[in-house]
Symmetry: C2
DNA sequence: AATCTACATTATAATAATTCTAAACTATTG
DNA sequence: CAATAGTTTAGAATTATTATAATGTAGATT
């Protein structure tokens, strides 16, 4: 996804019709300096705050999933209760702050390359992701 | 959790009352050679098949969470739709077969030790876990 | 530019997973 | 063996997500 605009073209390129809602969502997600993490709920709030028109919850789900399928978003599973999505679709690892429930990207340099010595026979490795759970020094768990 | 029996004592040790249901659940989960993974649904089925008495779904949830809190079970997040639990509570990594949705433990030797070079300030690392997603060579995603 | 068609959006209903509730039950303590 | 604090239970409630079916719209065709 580009740093700035021409979302219409980008959507068309991957075969998604550039509807008003999809363009709006692109603006909210990608017109910013840094990539970020969000839940569907976060996104609904962000859109309804930034925009003056309503957007249906179903549309947000549909569109997020459409974007995910096309590689514009990545889903991250940390918590069985929440689905997080990441606008950073490149392979990278995460810290998860168990106090604040905040998800933080690792820089490339934060974690050495993972060496997988063995694989499941007949299978191809699709991804290797590390999750580092952290918390304040006092209370350990949620 | 022990290889065999005295679940009553073990439950008492951590301050859980050894009720009929909890002892049954221990038997189903820990009277076996190898550790394994399950969802709440799997477990309900297993219990209702192995036992002749009914167990309430709520009890299974309560008991699984009680066991988790006491370190008898570990939750694994892979899929936002399903909660997996693991009777292997030691630190270890996983393969996840995206074709079959099967979760497979990594042996200690399968993955080199992960080296975390940087951490979030003021936080302690609670766990470092790797998830290796694999799939058949043909179709890549679900 | 009007029409057509396939795809999108929408509000709402349906489903699924999990948690809550409050009444009945039971393991432990005294 | 009575008291009580923790447990189980069925079912209701809640939450997240997906399905439905009617309406709307983008893009191609005239």
């Amino acid at each position: 996804m580009p740093k700035n605009c021409n979302f219409i073209g980008k959507l068309r390129e991957v075969g998604l019709r550039p509807t008003k809602q999809r363009i709006k969502m692109c603006e909210v997600l990608y017109n910013r300096e840094k990539t970020f993490h969000f839940t569907i709920n976060d996104l609904v709030k962000m859109i309804s705050e930034k925009m003056n028109e309503k957007i249906s919850l179903a549309t947000v789900y549909n569109t997020v999933h459409a974007f995910e399928k096309k590689g514009y978003l990545k889903e991250i599973s940390i918590d069985s209760h929440k689905s997080y999505f990441d606008t950073n679709t490149s392979a990278h690892h995460h810290f998860f702050d168990e106090d604040t429930h905040e998800l933080i990207d690792c820089d490339e340099s934060d974690i050495d390359k993972i060496n997988i010595r063995k694989n499941i026979t007949g299978k191809k490795i699709n991804s290797v992701e590390v999750l580092v759970r952290v918390a304040g020094d006092n209370q350990t768990q949620k």
